[in-house]
């Protein structure tokens, strides 16, 4: 009997043009939380996909309880007790919670010679499993009625129901509030007590240090090392991940906020549960951070201003001039741009080139004779943009989908840079981006503010808001609950405003 429940040895995996995993190992002890860390592109997800049978390893071996096993597809992995909760959840919202949990392995009963789904057993089993992950929901509820974090718990329930011995959690907290994170940690601890080995992938240092027992760090497809979590510090982890010392987390800011540039007054959504009576302003050259828990309707408010969502009331003024915004085009034509939260869903034009992605919002500048585009000029703009943003791409013709998340984000910010707006709304600009690229994006934001752009930045990372904002606006449950000067902001006073629910 091995001391490890699962062991991956000497894993090698290459994709055309890149070695994703270069002889990597991973050893999981039962009843521990094993954090897997590394920048985006370090190979964490690839390694997990090899373990879960989504990818086939070119070389390498997997052992379960010291015995060599072959995993060819996710079904194999599940049968061997390996379960995975994906970074992007893939549930079926229109079906019930129970059906989602037992998807693909519905309990059956015999109806004469015909096998039919045993719904009674399905729902009673589902109820029991839900109780195990401390969820108090009717398994007959439609999954779509749950929040993201609740759906995630359902995914974990699914893993529990499969009696998994290894559970992979890929960035489970990226869209959770503090309370929800606590709830997740309770579940993780429960599973740990039962001897389940948990692989925990996250970018959030404080979480890693709190919950994990062991930490394996990867960089550029290489195995760097495994440490006992108790001896680690944030600085040490970052140094190992990045391979160099990062002295500053945030760049110095030289922007000087000027006169009020952009005013929002009495914004109220058509949805009574969404944003209500929101008024605020941003000054020229100011970075306004927007804090709040998930569900505070920050994104909804900004999308309402930008013309993506409908409102019943609300006016927007730029330098005192009222604007009519019914669709994003109106906002953009008036010098207001927005980087949306969902990079894949509403950001990148996946199959199109980096060049097309950068230029799409500013084609009007390159019209000749009123209808022909000057493609040469566009290419010059694109090259300049790539250089300015330090975007790492083989060429401007490369499809954006093949870049890493950080570089995709740089392209998207570059899209708005090219458009040269006066007001730039950034919704979670650094979500899912590694430490190195984050710093570069902070520098760009700071530089834009210095140039006199008004920046509105939504972020769920308090440290980022405190480190980057001149002023922080806090929202709770659809209302603006207060403003804090950037210099005075602390996690505590932000949280206090973020939890001012109406009684």
């Amino acid at each position: 009997m091995s001391e490890f429940v699962l062991e991956m040895k000497d894993v090698y995996k290459a994709f055309p043009g890149v070695i994703a995993l270069n002889h990597v190992k991973l050893q999981l002890k039962p009843g521990t939380v094993h954090a897997l860390m590394g920048e985006n592109g370090a190979g964490k997800s690839t390694l997990m996909k090899c373990m879960f049978g989504i990818y086939t390893m070119d070389e390498g071996e997997i052992f379960i309880d010291g015995e060599k096993v072959e995993i060819h597809n996710p079904m194999d992995a599940l049968n061997k007790g390996i379960a995975m909760v994906h970074q992007e959840l893939q549930p079926i919202p229109a079906r019930t919670i129970g059906e989602n949990i037992y998807l693909g392995r519905y309990p059956l009963k015999n109806y004469g010679p015909i096998k039919v789904v045993d719904h009674d057993k399905l729902y009673s089993d589902a109820a029991a499993v839900l109780k195990e992950v401390r969820m108090d929901f009717d398994p007959k509820m439609k999954l779509g009625e749950l929040s993201i974090s609740q759906m995630q718990s359902v995914e974990i329930a699914k893993a529990v129901s499969a009696n998994c011995r290894v559970l992979i959690l890929d960035e489970p907290t990226s869209s959770l509030t503090q309370n929800e994170v606590e709830a997740l940690f309770t579940i993780v601890n429960d599973l740990k007590q039962r001897g389940v080995a948990i692989v925990y992938i996250s970018h959030k240092m404080d979480e890693i240090l709190r919950i994990s027992d062991e930490v394996t760090i990867m960089r550029d497809g290489q195995y760097i090392g495994t440490w006992d979590a108790k001896q680690l510090t944030t600085d040490f982890i970052i140094t190992k991940m990045v391979g160099r010392e990062l002295t500053n987390l945030y760049p110095p800011r030289e922007n000087v906020p000027g006169d009020v540039e952009f005013e929002v007054e009495d914004f109220t959504s058509i949805n009574p549960k969404s944003f209500r009576h929101c008024s605020f302003n941003v000054r020229k050259g100011e970075i306004l951070g927007v804090a709040g828990l998930v569900g505070a309707q920050r994104t909804e408010l900004m999308e309402g201003i930008f013309g993506i969502r409908s409102k019943v009331s609300g006016t927007v003024r730029l330098r005192g001039q009222e604007m009519k915004i019914n669709q994003p085009k109106d906002a953009i034509d008036n010098g207001v741009a927005m980087l949306t939260e969902d990079r894949r869903g509403s950001g990148i034009l996946g199959v199109l080139s980096v060049a097309d992605n950068i230029s799409i919002a500013s084609l009007n500048q390159y019209l000749e004779h009123g209808f022909l585009l000057n493609n040469k000029k566009i290419e010059e703009l694109v090259q300049e943009n790539i250089r300015q943003m330090n975007t790492k791409t083989p060429s401007s013709k490369t499809p954006i989908a093949s870049l890493s998340g950080g570089n995709q984000q740089k392209v998207l910010i570059g899209r708005w840079l090219a458009n040269n707006p006066d007001v730039l709304i950034l919704d979670e600009p650094t979500r899912g981006i590694d430490v190195g690229a984050k710093y570069e994006i902070y520098c760009i934001i700071a530089d834009l503010a210095k140039q006199g752009k008004s920046i509105i930045m939504i972020s769920s990372e308090m440290a980022e808001l405190i480190g980057m904002s001149d002023r922080i606006m806090v929202m709770c449950d659809g209302r603006i609950t207060g403003f804090i000067d950037g210099k005075d902001a602390t996690q505590e006073n932000i949280m206090e405003l973020a939890t001012q629910f109406e009684s």
Binding site: F306, I308, Q327, P328, K329, I332, D333, M338, T340, G345, S346, G347, I348, L349, G350, V351, L352, D356, S359, I360, A361, L363, N364, L367, F371, L372, L373, N375, A401, S402, R415, N419
Partner: protein, 336 residues
């Protein structure tokens, strides 16, 4: 880097991403070498004039496909245009005129009328798809039937003949000798439309917006693209192309009927797909459409030369369409 590749390497790259084109060309060459009279001006002229009209239709459909839509009403729209053009272009002294009191009309005015009708039908498609958000498949399936009904009503389900000679002779016109190399007017017209679409797709905002919508409609909208307008324009342009094709087709055939154009949408979609327009959206070129339609027409001629019962053509064509799409989907799957 890529510019340095020689022609052979480029051809190999092309073959890898368009295996079906290479396959069909090889089959044609084999058939050409083993059957008599395949390599002749007659075959060439046939191929060119068949391709011309279908290329124009395929250009119309291409925009719909690139934006992840489709246009199943294409064939019937061609048919309606052919019927209307036929009715309006009948000789003044023709005894079987559908509109007995109508004076002889100028064929170019007829073209304008037919194009206007096509534009309206296309606009209706586009508005339903972009405003009411009805899936393009359903929208155009509905208009397909409606348009067929209009064609039946306008012709009273009777064949239309007796066209003015100015009309038929223009469309049949050609430069060159009767038995040798010829450049049919049809080919010139088709190429002009090809050039126009190339400019539209590569040099104009409309084209860039179209590709962006195909790549990610929400992202395009958030980037300031007026997606509703662009989509409406795409279906409207398509309608105009079908109308032009119908106008040409009626004269080319020397008569029209409500049955005309049936199934042309599938041929056009097949041509586009063979030519590399991806059903996953955002990908496709005018050159690809031309190659796709050309190869598809070549296939039909090859089958004819092989003496295959024409009924089997449908089966072969269906298989080719599905194969082309399956290969395209595989290509995208592998990238993941």
């Amino acid at each position: 880097m890529k510019e340095n590749k020689n022609f052979g390497a480029k051809l190999l790259d092309y073959g890898k991403s368009n295996p079906i084109v290479i396959l069909l060309v090889i089959v044609s060459i084999i058939v050409g070498l083993t059957t008599k009279n395949f390599f002749s001006w007659n075959t060439f002229n046939n191929l060119v004039s068949n391709t011309a009209v279908r290329f124009i239709i395929a250009l119309g459909v291409s925009g719909c496909l690139i934006t992840k839509g489709t246009d199943l009403s294409a064939g019937r729209q061609v048919g309606l245009a052919a019927c209307l053009a036929g009715i309006l272009c009948q000789r003044g002294d023709y005894s079987g005129k559908l509109l007995p009191n109508m004076p002889e009309m100028n064929i170019w005015i007829v073209l304008l009328i037919v194009v206007a009708v096509g534009a309206v039908i296309g606009m209706v498609n586009g508005l339903i798809i972009s405003r009411l958000k009805v899936p393009p498949f359903i929208t155009t399936l509905g208009t397909q039937t409606i348009v067929y009904g209009l064609a039946l009503i306008s012709t009273n389900a009777q064949p239309v003949g007796g066209f003015q000679s100015a009309y038929t002779s223009f469309v049949a016109g050609k430069i060159g000798s009767t038995n040798g190399f010829q450049i049919p007017y049809l080919m010139i017209i088709a190429l002009l439309f090809g050039i126009f679409f190339w400019v539209l797709y590569n040099q104009m905002r409309h084209g860039k917006y179209m590709y962006a919508i195909g790549g990610n409609e929400v992202a395009a909208e958030v980037s300031g693209v007026n997606t509703k307008k662009t989509i409406t324009m795409i279906y409207m342009t398509a309608g105009i192309m079908y109308a032009v094709a119908g106008w040409l087709l009626a004269a080319k055939s020397g008569g029209s009927s409500s049955a005309m154009g049936q199934g042309y949408e599938l041929e056009a979609i097949a041509g586009c797909t063979i030519g590399g327009i991806s059903t996953t959206g955002g990908i496709g070129t005018v050159g690809g459409v031309l190659v796709g339609v050309l190869v598809f027409e070549l296939l039909k001629i090859v089958l004819q030369f092989l003496g295959v019962n024409p009924y089997y053509n449908f089966i072969v064509q269906g298989i080719v369409i599905i194969t082309a799409v399956a290969l395209d989907i595989r290509k995208n799957l592998q990238k993941k």
